[in-house]
Every structure is written in structure tokens, then in C-alpha cells.
Symmetry: D2
């Protein structure tokens, strides 16, 4: 039987997973002293137990990573049999190679730190993979990257009366999510591409479909500064879209991202609760509970 | 020949050590993206080189620790021959055991993280050792804990006309620093102890010496919230001390520590530059340069 | 016709109010420079217009207050006819008098700063009033304090199958909210009181009702450190409550508040979106839109 | 007789001014609660007294501004006769006009907030004035802007064996400081200008002097991101300067400013203690004490 522990980045999500999945939760005490040092204490017996340690690593990734390491190493010292690291938002995924000489390959280093901290298995949600074709290449321990796009698509189906909908991925990498969302919503999908229309001008348009008069949903894995999403929304509205809704798994929303997206003309914008935010209306708790049950 | 690299917590100190010690410096680029992720790049050839990586870990220890790990692991990937981790302020030293069941033993975990990050040797300054009698027990790699108390004592001798001075350690653990400072200043020293004067009242007084009419210097390794220092100052002034000066190696100064100490009646308060602060008037650059030369 | 502007603390809420209330929104650009200074620009014509400026002031109240002041003063310089300050979470309400000589009466100072910044009217949600009997005494300009307790009660009715429910206020001041929630849910209510049971022991119990075997909802205006809520939950479970749900308007959730509440045994805990948080499931957008329509 | 109070941004500077100027200090208690709200208490009798309130407003200007306002308004409520606002680093000076429609003119708003908070007079150090020719135009109350450039120049004279020195201002606005420093050091000065050397290339060179083989000191009011300073250092070294030292009044040092400057080849870089930093080696305490004595 799996037990659940939530790091301080994912207290709420851990309790939700515990409830919907009927996993016992083991509480922790976690605080930061005035001098900036974190204190962590596991408040329950973990000896011989299998533990799912839930910790999303958004906005303050270094602090949440260290807390994760403190907990996972302590669990094994206390006799836990297995630690499954559930990291709904996995940070540093962009820096997956040395783009310039001398750069730290942060993704590799963070993955090693997690493996070396007695974690037996890693579960992530819509981790952004560029140069790796699978999460199994990122980690040397068993690892699984699940997608929340079905949950997002179902939320869209239930909460918006979409008219003649089309799902758009803002770039080629997001085609996978657009395709999958479209299959749930039983509608078209496409991705945007840059098209040169003159020496000076570039147009960003869907490869094949027309958005004229249709409800468009832009689906991406992450909204960070909001630049990509805002640009796509403006373009699609200019091309005659009826309404444009932005949807993503991870609402990092750095700086004034949300304002930029609304200002661009978004009808609405939604995300999951892998990263807490005002737009995190779709929960991944059921999805993660189901995944954990498969590992139970 | 040693080369010096400074993490972003110790940029200034690294350049100072490089200058006074005539060690070539290798610059880095280090920044935090709007989404909170750190980017690190080493801007020079390190292949086959021996590197002293300077990074104090104060106030934001988790962020500085991760940056240190990013740099040290990258140095070895880039072919560096040896990495000496110079950590002037070493964090998490208080949590050196499991005081209560379930607690993370942070000091051990942080030490392991550093060892596992390809560091060959560690140098710290006045690391606070409680249950360990030597830094050699903390680390499984060569490690050295040097003291800045001579530098502090010389600064006191040069900058204050101390009258009939006496050095006071606020508790037994600080006797070592009091004694050493007293030998530089060629004066008395003592430590404070609690003495019960009635069922309700406790007095905090020096064990043996009288401070009446004398200039007192309280010497400690660290000022964190300032509580210990402020209390000692009040007591010693009440017992007739002429002036009380606070001195420490690490000026963490959490919250309103400085205000508390001055309000208690401190004539002045000084510290070294292991932790940058307005009172960090004594530099450890010469001391660290000298220590590094011995490892050269 | 009212126009809506959202400060960066309430971007999402402002767009939601604009949508449900059919108020045109005027976008802004707001960012913080690397040196820590904020930049604000109103991106639309406001001359002669009436503006509802939405800015909740949670967690970083000083930064959000300054941004509010920058915007409201600029609006009047740009010719706006009226500025209604909508401050869903109003900070500094506790410090409403000089408890000790020399203290700043923060509530008064913040209220004056808002009045002096060309605000014509203030609307708050469940502002915590202790020594003032009405918000009209706090401000010298028209002011209205609306309550979200009906919205919270309706959410509870729709989302939990409450068995033999009773609403509990954790102290006398919260009786007003408990009473009102109970009238929506058509059930009992009570408040907790301290009862001395021996020289050493104090019991915290409802004044009149028994919670044995019943679903209990604790209703308060704010959850800050979570101490009051956690204590009440433990007590009520000990007294035989079937399930205890915490509910509040403002989810400040400082430090590990959420963990404390769940660890105390909460079945669930909910709040409104005056303060964004993972538990902010009840929206005040409709309520605020309705209130603004009355001022239209 | 003036009394001194230090806000939490300038605790150390206030005590130093109090000591060198023989002004009595009135302590305060200032802290931030876990919910982010600041608490301020003046710990001494101020009735009928004249108070110099020292608060520099760097890096977290909004938080320090609110604290300043809390204290200054409280002082008058408590019966203080006069409040002199000593703001060594005055923030928001760049935004002194509406560069684009809709922008907040932050400098004006912040100045008004200070005037309206019962401040009788303002003293700043090397406030950056662009469009205003004098601080007297910025404020409607008496105001004085003093310069620390003499202190900086004297420090340079005493601590570096400058060979054939020349003082350089990085742009026209900084000519005033270059000139004044040169007169203390009895040497040449000049400012940099951009010179087009071909259709594509621009050169940045001193207007008249040659720096070849000479020690150059670049003098500016502020180092923020370090870009201007780093660029100037690189250019001057390329033009044959022997050593280049950077000097400024305010060491804001945002992000990796210090690293950029050293990496550009700076021999050293120094600043005053209006803003605490590792390079703040020149104190303005004497200068401010002298200025306050003139107002005594």
C-alpha cells in the first residue's frame, strides 16, 4: 500500500491525491528559519513503507528541490522501502544540453541529484522534452511522464460551448498535445507555422486549417512569460477566430504573463493544478491517483 | 597553479582572493530566469586545471547550494582536475543530529550533496561544530575549517583604543574564540554562565573576571537573530562594563538583529566579509588566499 | 458606464469581473525592473471615465499598495472622472489602534494613503473590523464592506453532502459569519468558547450545540498562520464531529498553514479567490460585479 | 537638538550618523509578520523633538517607502516637532516624466507621498536628476541634494597609488561628478562620447584626453545592472588605460552586475554605504552628520 507525503510546494495536491486515491497521508512539518535554512520533519512511521513523495518544482525550484532531497533522503534513513518521486512540474527541462561551451546542463544535474537521493522511480506530468525522445532517457531509474491533456480537453468540453472548435498547437513540439486534445473533443487540430509574406513581413498561421468564425483552443505544455501564447492569440483573432482560449498544463505565469494574454484578446485561459495559480481550474489529482494505483 | 571561480554569493570575495593571492580568476555568467530557474556558464577553459570555487551559503542557502552544485559538477564535466569548495559560511550546521524522530539531519545531507558533486576538498571558515569535534568527521573528503578570529582581534586592536580590555564568549562553545582573540590582544578572557540568584531570578555573568570599568568585546562565531548578543550586551553593561563591542565571523543578521544589538547598548558591532553586511569590515580574503596557497 | 482595471495582484479577478459584469476592461502594463522599482502604464483612454480599480493586497501588501497608488493617482492625472478602489483583501486591519505607546496605527495610515490617492470610494470584502463597528468609520470617503459568506455557504451546499450540519465560528467576532452561513444552509450555528475544566486545563467547546456525529463547518474571515483553524478542528473532532470542513474568505496561508490544517484532521478547507491559493474555489467575481453594477 | 531614527533599510547608517554627529538615537522596533504586514513601533519619547529619519530606499523601494511613511506619520501623531527625511538613495528618479501616454510618473508620486506624510524637509545624496535641474523643483518642501563625490575622491587618493590619473564620466550627465572628483584629486577629467567610425561601427571614447598608460577612474552616480560601467571599462582598457577603477555613490548591483564589471577587466570597483553592498567602502555618515548639524 502506497502512502503519500506532500512537500510544501504541493501540500494541497498531496491531500487531494490522498483523498481521491484512498492513500494514507503521512504529514510533515516543514518551515524556513529566519536565517533562511529549511527544517523538515516526517511526522509518522515510514519503516518498511512505500511512499509517494509529491513535490512540484515551480517558481522557486531550487528551494523545492532541496526540500525534496531532504525528505527523500530522510525517508530512506528512516527505513522507507521505496520512494516514488512525483514531480508534477519538473524544472530545468529546457537546459537539456550544452548550447554554448561552459554551460551547466541543468536538466542532467537535477536528474542526477534526484536519483542520488534514494528515489526509486520518478513520475512527472507533461514534462517538456526537447532533445530527449522519452523521459526514460533522462533518468537512469524507472520514470514515467504522464499527460494531463485529456483532463484539459474534458474540462473544455464541459465548461465552454465551443462552436466549430479547432485545437491549435503554437509550434511543432506541441502538435502531440493538440492532436490528443482534438481526439477527446472530436474536432480538428493544427499547428502554427511562420510564413514569409514579403522581405520584411512574417505571418504566423495554421499550416492547413482556417480558423475563421471558429472557436480556437491553443494547447501548450507551459505558459511561462506568456509571450508565445499572447502572440498566437493576436494572430488567430486577426485571422478571424471567433473566440480564442488558451490552455496549458503548467501555469508558471512569470511577471505579467496573465495580463499579456488577456490583453492579447484571450476569451479565457486555463491550466491544471500542477502549478497553483488563479487559472489552475483543472485538477491532476485523479490522474496522479490513478497512475499511483498502477504502481501500488 | 590554482584558479579561482566565484559563485554569485561571493563574487566580490572571489575577486579579492584572486587579487591578493595572485590566482587567475575564471569568470562565470550566472543569472536567474523570470521562471525562477538559474542559468550558469563557465567563461574560460578549465581543462586540466585546479579550481577553488568560492561560494558562501548565507540567507538563501538552498539557492546558493544549487548554484555551487551546478558549477562544481560542470567543472568536472569540462575536465577540471580538482575542485576545492571554499564555503566561507557553511549553512545548516546546527541541524547536526536528529533531535526529534523524523527530522532531516540537514548538515549530513548537505555535506553528502557537496561530496557527491565532484568536490575534492572543502574549506570553511569558523564553521559551527557542536556534536562533531572536527570538520574531518563531517566530511568523507579532505576538509579544513579555518578561523578568522585572529583577523578580528587584529582589527579590534587597530581600530579601537580598548581600555583594560576583556574578551567574553557568550557560552562555553565560544570559549575557543575568546581565548584565541585574547591571546592576540594580550588580555583576559572569560565566558558567560547562568547563575541562579533566587528561585525566580537568573543572572548571566562571566565565570571569573569582573567587567567593571573595562572595555568588553563579545566574540562569537555567528550573529543570527541577534538575541544572544543583545542579551549579553545588556547584562555586561549592567555589570559596569565601560563599552561593549560585539564581534563575530558571520553576520547573518536575520530580521531586525542589528537594531536589537544597538538598542541593547552596543558601542559597535563588527564582522568579517564571509557574509556581506553593513558591519562586515574585516576581510577574510588574505586568510583564504594564504590557505589556498598552502593547497597550491 | 464603469470600466475595470486590474492591478497585478488581481489580474485574473479583474478580467473575470469584467466578463461576468459586462464592464469594459482597460489593460495596463505593470512590471518590476531589476533594481526593484515598479513601472506602471495605463493602456487605454480613461478621460472622463469612471473606473473600478481592482487590487487585493495580500502577502506583499506594501508592493501592491504602492502599485495601487501609482495607478489611482495616474488615472486622475489622465482625466478619469471617478476611481472606485476595489480592495477584496484589505491589509493591516488588525493594527487598528495603538496597543502599545509608539506603535504605528497601520490601518489608519493605509486608509489615509488610499483616500489621498484620489480614490472616490472603497469596496472591500469581509474586511476584518475589530474596534470599528463599520467600514464607514475607517474611511472619510464612501466605503462599503461586502460579505462573501453567502457564496461560501452556497458552495458548501452544492459540493458536500453535509449530514446534520452545524456552522461554527471560532470566536465571538466570527458569530456574524456563522449565523449568515447557517441561514443559507438552513442549519444550526454556534461559536467556540474557552471553558476552564480544572486549574490547569482549558477546553474549547461550542457554547450550546453538540457536534457529536455531525458535519461541522468552521467559518472565519481569514486563515493566516492556520493556528486558530487547526486548533478548532482538533477540538471538534475530539468532541465527536463526523467531518470538519474549514471555510474562510481570505486564504493568506502564511508558512505551513495548509499543512497544519490538514494535519489537524480537516476533511477539507475552502476559501474565495480574493486571495489566490490552491483552496480558492469560490469566486467573488459575481458578487463584486453585482456590487459594482449598483454603483454604475 | 536633532534626534536620529533609522528605518530598517539604514539601521547601521543611522547608528553611525548618531555616533559621529553626537545626535541621540531613538530606537525603533520594526518587523514583518508572516502574512507580509510590517509592524513599526517608536521606542522613545519624541514629543516636541526634531527628528532626522534615515531611510535609504534601495532594492525593495516600496517596502522601505511604506515603512518610512509609517514612521514619519506616527512621529507627528506622537507630537514630534519636525521630521527631516534623510533618504540617501532616493528611488524612482528615472521616471521623472511621462515618456509614453498613460505612464505613472513615479518620481512625482513618490515625492508627493513623502510630502504628505508630514515630512518637513528632505535630504538626499547624489539623487539622479534628469529633467529637473534642482531637487528644489522636485519637492514642494525644503529639499537638499548633497554629493558624496568628495568622499569618494578622497578614498581613491588614500587607497590607490594612482599613476597619471584621469577621471572619466561615462556620459554627459556625469560630467559634474567627474569634474568635482578631478578637482579633489588634482587631475584631468573628461566624459565619454560615441563616435561613428564607419557605417557599422561606433566607438566610445573620451572627448579630449588620451587614457593611454594612465590610471582611469570612472565616476558615476549609480551602478544598477552594471552595463554602462562594464562597457566603459572594456573600451578604456582597449584604448590603452593602465588600470580602470569604477566608482559610484549608489551600489544597487542588480543581478550579476558585479561579475559583469570585474569580467570587463575592472581593477577594482567602489561605492558609498548609501546602499549596503560588498563594495560599499566609503561612508557617507560624516557627510550626513555634517549636513544635519547645519540643520540643527
Amino acid at each position: 500500500m502506497l502512502n503519500v507525503i506532500g512537500g510544501s510546494a504541493s501540500t494541497y495536491l498531496a491531500y487531494k491525491i490522498s483523498r481521491v486515491g484512498q492513500f494514507p497521508i503521512i504529514p510533515i512539518e516543514s518551515k524556513v528559519f529566519p536565517d533562511g535554512e529549511r527544517y523538515v520533519r516526517v511526522l509518522g512511521d515510514v519503516e518498511g513503507k512505500r511512499i509517494a513523495l509529491i513535490q512540484s518544482m515551480y517558481r522557486n525550484p531550487d528551494s523545492y528541490l532541496i526540500e525534496f532531497i531532504f525528505i527523500s533522503r530522510t525517508l530512506k534513513e528512516l527505513g522507507a522501502k521505496e520512494v516514488i518521486g512525483v514531480i508534477p512540474y519538473f524544472p530545468y527541462a529546457r537546459q537539456d544540453t550544452r548550447f554554448n561551451p561552459g554551460e551547466a546542463v541543468s536538466l542532467d544535474i537535477v536528474s542526477r541529484l534526484i536519483e542520488e537521493s534514494n528515489v526509486d522511480k520518478v513520475i512527472t506530468v507533461d514534462m517538456h522534452l526537447h532533445r530527449y525522445s522519452s523521459i526514460k532517457e533522462v533518468f537512469r531509474i524507472p520514470a514515467e511522464n504522464i499527460s494531463a491533456v485529456d483532463e484539459i480537453a474534458r474540462y473544455l468540453a464541459n465548461n465552454y460551448k465551443l462552436e466549430s472548435p479547432v485545437i491549435i498547437g503554437p509550434d511543432e513540439e506541441s502538435e502531440q498535445w493538440a492532436k490528443r486534445a482534438a481526439s477527446v473533443l472530436e474536432c480538428d487540430y493544427d499547428v502554427l507555422e511562420k510564413r514569409r509574406i514579403s522581405a520584411e513581413e512574417v505571418e504566423i498561421v495554421p499550416r492547413k486549417v482556417s480558423v475563421k468564425g471558429r472557436d480556437v483552443v491553443i494547447v501548450d505544455d507551459i505558459i511561462s512569460t506568456g509571450g508565445t501564447m499572447a502572440e498566437a492569440i493576436k494572430m488567430l483573432l486577426k485571422q478571424g477566430a471567433r473566440r480564442v482560449i488558451g490552455a496549458c498544463t503548467h501555469a508558471i505565469l512569470a511577471g505579467n504573463a496573465l495580463e499579456r494574454i488577456y490583453r492579447a484578446g484571450a476569451h479565457d485561459v486555463i491550466a491544471t493544478d500542477t502549478v497553483p495559480s488563479p487559472i489552475s481550474v483543472v485538477s491532476v489529482a485523479e490522474l496522479l491517483a490513478k497512475t499511483l494505483r498502477e504502481h501500488d
